[in-house]
């Protein structure tokens, strides 16, 4: 098996007002190149924590285990280095940046990763062309590019803006943290299409979701169930259907 993303025994904690709180407790997960996996799990099981730790947020302290990406020790890298390598996180709660113009932000990000990947930077015209193609694809109005990043965006607009960033940054591994939450059915289809069209031998993804619905549109290669900071069950697409029908209890009892 080609080890693309490989997580072994990952433990992470956060400082919760002075007391360390353990969130990830020995998590194992492998995602081969070209595969799309889904993680489902009850609220508070550590799904967002996992995505933050992989993207490099430093308020989480990794206390054990490892995570490698395409052979590189992911945990040793700065967030911007991970992005340059091709890791992308679509945030569950995208951050608002008052005073930062969305188009400028996007162009700065695109050119930062292009620089790091030793690709030529895009000039204003080239960038505009590229971004217009994507906004059209995602049914986004160009007006959203003129606004400040995520400021005054509806929940759905924020999620689409995440997908726009993902497509512009051309990641090799994308984590979508509840990108489907708060989307109506049309938006969901557009977002799913935005992911599906990246699908290929060099693109992998981890989709965190509560709903089978998204997985109707993005067929996962594998589905993992997460609880209390661990993967407690893995299987094919049928796991999502079983969860939808019977809930998490069946798996929680099995490990209890």
């Amino acid at each position: 098996m080609n080890d693309f993303l490989k997580i072994s025994g990952l433990c992470a904690q956060i400082d919760d007002n002075g007391t360390p709180k353990e969130i990830l407790r020995g998590l194992d997960l492998d995602i081969p190149k070209g595969e799309i996996h889904a993680i489902m799990g009850p609220n508070g099981s550590g799904k967002s924590t996992l995505s933050y730790v992989l993207a490099g947020r430093d308020d989480y302290e990794v206390t054990g285990g490892s995570a490698t990406f395409d052979g590189a020790d992911l945990l040793a890298l700065e967030p911007e280095e991970r992005a340059a390598l091709g890791v992308f996180l679509a945030f569950q709660a995208p951050v608002e940046l008052p005073g930062v113009n969305n188009a400028n932000f996007l162009r700065t990000a695109v050119n930062a990763v292009r620089r790091a990947r030793e690709e030529p930077e895009l000039d204003a015209v080239g960038f505009l062309k590229a971004v217009r193609a994507e906004t059209k694809h995602l049914h986004m109005s160009d007006e959203m590019l003129k606004r400040n990043v995520n400021v005054g965006f509806s929940g759905g607009e924020k999620k689409r803006n995440e997908v726009l960033q993902m497509r512009m940054l051309r990641p090799r591994f994308a984590i979508l943290d509840e990108t489907d939450s708060g989307l109506d059915i049309d938006a969901l289809r557009i977002v799913a299409e935005g992911v599906n069209s990246l699908r290929g031998p060099d693109f992998s993804a981890l989709i965190i979701t509560h709903h089978q619905r998204l997985l109707d549109y993005i067929q996962p290669d594998r589905v993992h169930v997460m609880a209390k900071g661990q993967i407690i069950h893995s299987g094919g697409a049928e796991v999502a259907l079983a969860l939808e029908a019977q809930g998490y209890q069946q798996y929680l009892e099995a490990v209890a």
Binding site: G56, D58, A83, L89, V95, A109, A112
Partner: protein, 404 residues
């Protein structure tokens, strides 16, 4: 220089003109902590330095200095002072604008004014006739020298009724010096003065500046100060709204790194009804920088329907960075709308992480957030060329700031 006797005050007294200002300077000395208004900005750092009169500079050297320190003043009409003296070869004025003898009156209870008057050097005396639009004029004051020197330019700008002017006031230099400029402003009925000041003095300089603005009915004094240089600086503004429906804007941004100290002190006095004052002041403070904001809005009994707004915000980028903020409202009228606020904060970690997760390197991400913080102050500058100039200066400052 040697010996314990050397002091700034001694060197000033030796050069002071006879008159009331000299007497006041002798009696009061330089302001210290005991003076309430100077509590956060004592001039102790000056005490052991003697300041000489600066040497004259040849026109060619002045031209080179201008190209180096204020290249953007090249295209515009301008009045250039180097080492406290007008350089006629570099000065050009538009039609309808006259240079007159400058006469910035002494304000006895303002130590910066006292020092300036005691050692006054004739500065810019500008007169814009009624109804004339003088466009943009750059006032450039540069200082250069190896040993500590001081300049004390006294400027006076008068706009007659309905006149217009944008004054781009650039202060810069090389080496150790004290720049102590005073600008008197008179804005007559319906006139509008936009005053954009960029203080980018040498890192070894001290800048003590005073603006005394008097605005008549329907007039506007619209000012923005960008403080980037000098190890110690104080920009003091006294704005007097003397006729109804007049307005003043005293906006500023202070960017401080190293161990620099910058103080913005303003008193806006509403002395007539229906006037507006606006003040947005942003401080970006890194390393051991120390920012000071003292802003007073004074509303006379007669000044009903005053509309005053004041906001002071500080972004502290290190543990050692400091801000002292002292807003004051003194209101004697009963029908007024005055609001003020102050915030102090650090960069938002979530915002920083979001940018970095998108591949933007740490320092660039910080720069973006600092610019975003400054935006609502910088965007108050409407003149496009001036606004572009300020953006460029902020950008360069960020790139060249002392390494952490």
């Amino acid at each position: 220089m040697s010996g314990a006797e050397i002091s700034a005050l001694g060197s000033f007294m030796a050069r002071a003109h006879e008159g009331q200002a000299r007497t006041l300077l002798e009696q009061q000395g330089l302001p210290g902590r005991r003076l309430e208004a100077w509590r956060y900005t004592p001039l102790r750092a000056l005490e052991t330095t003697g300041f000489a009169a600066p040497a004259p500079v040849a026109p060619d050297e002045a031209r080179a200095l201008l190209a180096r320190l204020a290249p953007e003043a090249d295209a515009s009409h301008r009045v250039v002072f180097v080492n406290g003296a007008l350089v006629p070869e570099l000065t050009s004025l538009p039609e309808g604008v006259r240079l007159v003898a400058a006469d910035a009156p002494l304000v006895a209870d303002r130590p910066i004014s006292v020092l300036n008057t005691a050692l006054a050097q004739p500065g810019l005396g500008l007169h814009v006739s009624a109804g004339a639009d003088a466009g943009q004029i750059a006032l450039v004051a540069l200082v250069t020298g190896d040993a500590p020197v001081s300049t004390h330019l006294a400027h006076q700008v008068t706009l007659e009724a309905d006149a217009r002017l944008t004054l781009l006031d650039i202060q810069s230099g090389e080496g150790p010096y004290l720049a102590n400029p005073v600008l008197g402003v008179r804005v007559a009925e319906g006139a509008r003065l936009t005053h954009l000041r960029v203080q980018q003095d040498s890192q070894d300089a001290v800048n003590l500046a005073f603006v005394n603005a008097d605005v008549s009915s329907r007039g506007l004094y619209d000012s923005f100060t960008l403080t980037l240089g000098a190890r110690l600086s104080r920009h003091e503004v006294l704005a007097h709204l003397g006729g109804s429906n007049a307005a003043v804007h005293v906006n500023a941004a202070q960017l401080l790194a190293g161990n620099r100290h910058a103080d913005l002190t303003s008193v806006i006095r509403h002395a007539a009804p229906d006037c507006i004052s606006r003040q947005t002041v942003k401080n970006v403070i890194m390393e051991g920088g120390h920012g000071v904001f003292q802003g007073k809005i004074h509303v006379d009994r007669i000044a009903q329907k005053t509309d005053g707004y004041q906001m002071n915000q500080a972004l502290l980028l290190s543990e050692r960075a400091q801000i002292d903020s002292k807003p004051e409202l003194e209101i004697y009228a009963d029908d007024v709308k005055c609001s003020h606020g102050a915030t102090v904060g650090a960069l938002d970690d979530e915002q920083l992480f979001y940018l970095r997760a998108r591949g933007i390197p740490h320092d660039e991400a910080r720069a973006m957030l600092v610019r975003a913080f400054l935006l609502d102050a910088l965007s108050l500058v409407q003149d496009e060329t001036a606004s572009a100039l300020l953006d460029r200066r902020v950008e360069t400052w960020w790139q060249k700031r002392d390494p952490e």
